[in-house]
């Protein structure tokens, strides 16, 4: 536990600097003020009446949609890309052309296509998560040792057996890396997407922007904290899930 001591000391120093007025609290609120801001988000809400847990739920809902679609398309396409060299050759140039466009650069066109709201947000998140999932899955299949495929063939496995019993489980570690990276990008993309407007009036990004509009740095930082903690929890859930699925590593 003693390794958390520096963190504690830093927090104390921060609090003292704020109390002494060295750092004005409209620039950086003190840790205690941030906690009070968090309390206000939970009880009063920002804007008032819109409570924190509803913002979280809306954000998670958007991520769940975008991320699920990214997985539903990215994993099968990635498996196909890894398995069929021709498919890989045809798809790669398209992927490499679209992938460098930041998801946020899609926001204007997404709004034109899908309007402001759930669907455009899910689309942006999908774009963020799709490529890490796709490429990790494909490279996972390619990383399966050919000798394992040979071994399966000498044990009478046909193409379908090899795909389901060798390539899919063999690329699972890599798929999980893709899922975790994809989820990280999805979460980052979400908040940025919500900055640029939401129709429903809920969402963590929207909440932070509202706090900025009415000059509440304590609630801005508290919102940032919430985003970080949720990202951490989601990643931790993924790792726990992976450990259950693959107890051998």
């Amino acid at each position: 536990m003693w390794r958390y001591l520096p963190v504690l000391l830093l927090l104390c120093l921060w609090e003292v600097l704020c109390l002494l007025g060295t750092v004005p609290n409209y620039v950086l609120p003190s840790p205690v003020e941030i906690m009070e801001g968090l309390g206000a988000l939970l009880t009063t809400g920002m804007p008032p009446g819109r409570l924190l847990h509803n913002h979280i739920l809306y954000s998670l809902y958007r991520v769940a949609w975008g991320f699920s679609i990214a997985c539903a398309l990215g994993i099968p396409l990635g498996l196909l890309m890894g398995w069929f060299p021709l498919f890989h050759r045809v798809l790669s140039p398209i992927v490499e052309l679209i992938r460098p466009i930041p998801p946020l650069a899609w926001i204007p066109i997404a709004i034109v296509w899908l309007g402001i709201g759930m669907r455009s947000a899910a689309f942006i998140i999908f774009l963020g998560a799709f490529f890490p999932v796709l490429l990790s899955t494909a490279s996972g299949v390619l990383s399966v040792s050919p000798i394992l495929i040979d071994a399966a063939r000498t044990l009478n496995a046909n193409q379908k057996d090899i795909f389901l019993k060798v390539l899919v489980p063999g690329s699972l570690p890599s798929i999980f890396v893709g899922l975790r990276v994809g989820m990280g990008v999805a979460w980052m993309t979400l908040v940025a997407a919500e900055f640029s407007g939401v129709k429903e009036g809920y969402g963590l990004g929207f909440m932070i922007m509202t706090a900025r509009d009415i000059q509440r740095p304590d609630q801005i930082v508290a919102g940032m904290l919430v985003i970080g903690v949720i990202g951490l929890i989601v990643d931790w859930l993924f790792r726990a899930w992976e450990a259950r699925l693959r107890p051998c590593v």
Partner: protein, 271 residues
């Protein structure tokens, strides 16, 4: 069981240099039921390629492989192959690895586990059923790989330097284990190795291959009963002779090697 290799040859096309590499050339060989035949040869001579062709993983360029008179054109569970690198599925437990072939056949979980348990007992691996390959020693991993192959009751078992990456003590143990296993099951084995001692200790017959393109240089019959004395005079005589042939093979450079050598010299001068 009756295996016949007729005029087997393999040429690899090297795309980059537009050249051809002849790996195997005109191999004729017969193996009868219950025989243990070792194939030794200089490293890189195409021994593994030969096994891959017999297993059906690779197609020959010339000649054919006949198992009980039927040509082998693709992998079948009649021919099992044990790899040097074990090739176990790292995400499957020991028992699940051994069951793989039965699972592919569509056998039910309870039934195949019962059969796997028999093999695990025969191989002396009880208590490790739920371990993953990474949690097993090298010797144990190779025993799992052998069990995974034998559970399919192949007519012919191919082994590609199966003990090549084991330390010498484990290697000796595994050789003795293999002898015991043969007494128990009377499998027909075609065993590739570069270790002459191993070949002399295990085999009924030793086939010595030349360097690339591999062809059969000589065949030795070893008639000593098992268990064999590794240091007996007969064993030493065969060993000396085989080692002599292999040494001679290494000394005489092939035309290809000569050409490569000349080319290297030439480029060194130009630099």
């Amino acid at each position: 069981m009756h295996l016949e290799l007729i005029g087997l040859g393999k040429t690899f096309v090297n795309g980059a240099q537009n050249g051809e590499v002849r790996a195997i050339s005109g191999i004729d060989l017969m193996v009868e039921q219950g025989q243990f035949v070792s194939i030794v040869g200089p490293s890189g001579c195409g021994k593994s390629t030969l096994l891959r062709i017999i297993s059906g993983l690779e197609k020959p360029s010339d000649g054919k492989v006949l198992l009980d008179g039927r040509e082998i054109v693709k992998p079948t569970h009649d021919v099992g192959l044990v790899f040097q690198q074990y090739a176990l599925f790292p995400w499957r437990t020991m028992a699940e690895n051994i069951e793989f072939g039965l699972e592919i056949m569509g056998m039910g979980k309870v039934e195949r586990r019962a059969i796997a348990e028999k093999y695990i007992e025969l191989f002396g691996m009880q208590g490790f059923e739920d371990r993953y390959p990474s949690q097993l020693s090298g010797g144990m991993q190779q025993r799992v790989a052998i069990a995974r192959t034998l559970i399919m009751n192949p007519k012919l078992v191919l082994m590609d330097e199966p003990f090549g990456s084991l330390d010498s003590q484990t290697r000796n143990d595994m050789q003795e284990f293999l002898i015991d296993l043969r007494n128990e099951r009377n499998d027909t084995v075609l065993f590739v190795t570069h270790n002459v001692d191993e070949a002399v200790f295990l085999s009924d017959r030793i086939v010595v291959l030349s360097k690339r393109p591999a062809k059969i240089l000589r065949t030795f019959e070893v008639n000593a009963p098992h268990p064999r004395d590794r240091t007996s005079k007969d064993a030493n005589d065969i060993r000396r002779e085989v080692i002599g042939i292999l040494k001679q093979e290494r000394m005489s450079a092939s035309p290809v090697d000569n050409a490569v050598h000349a080319l290297r010299k030439f480029s060194a001068v130009r630099r």
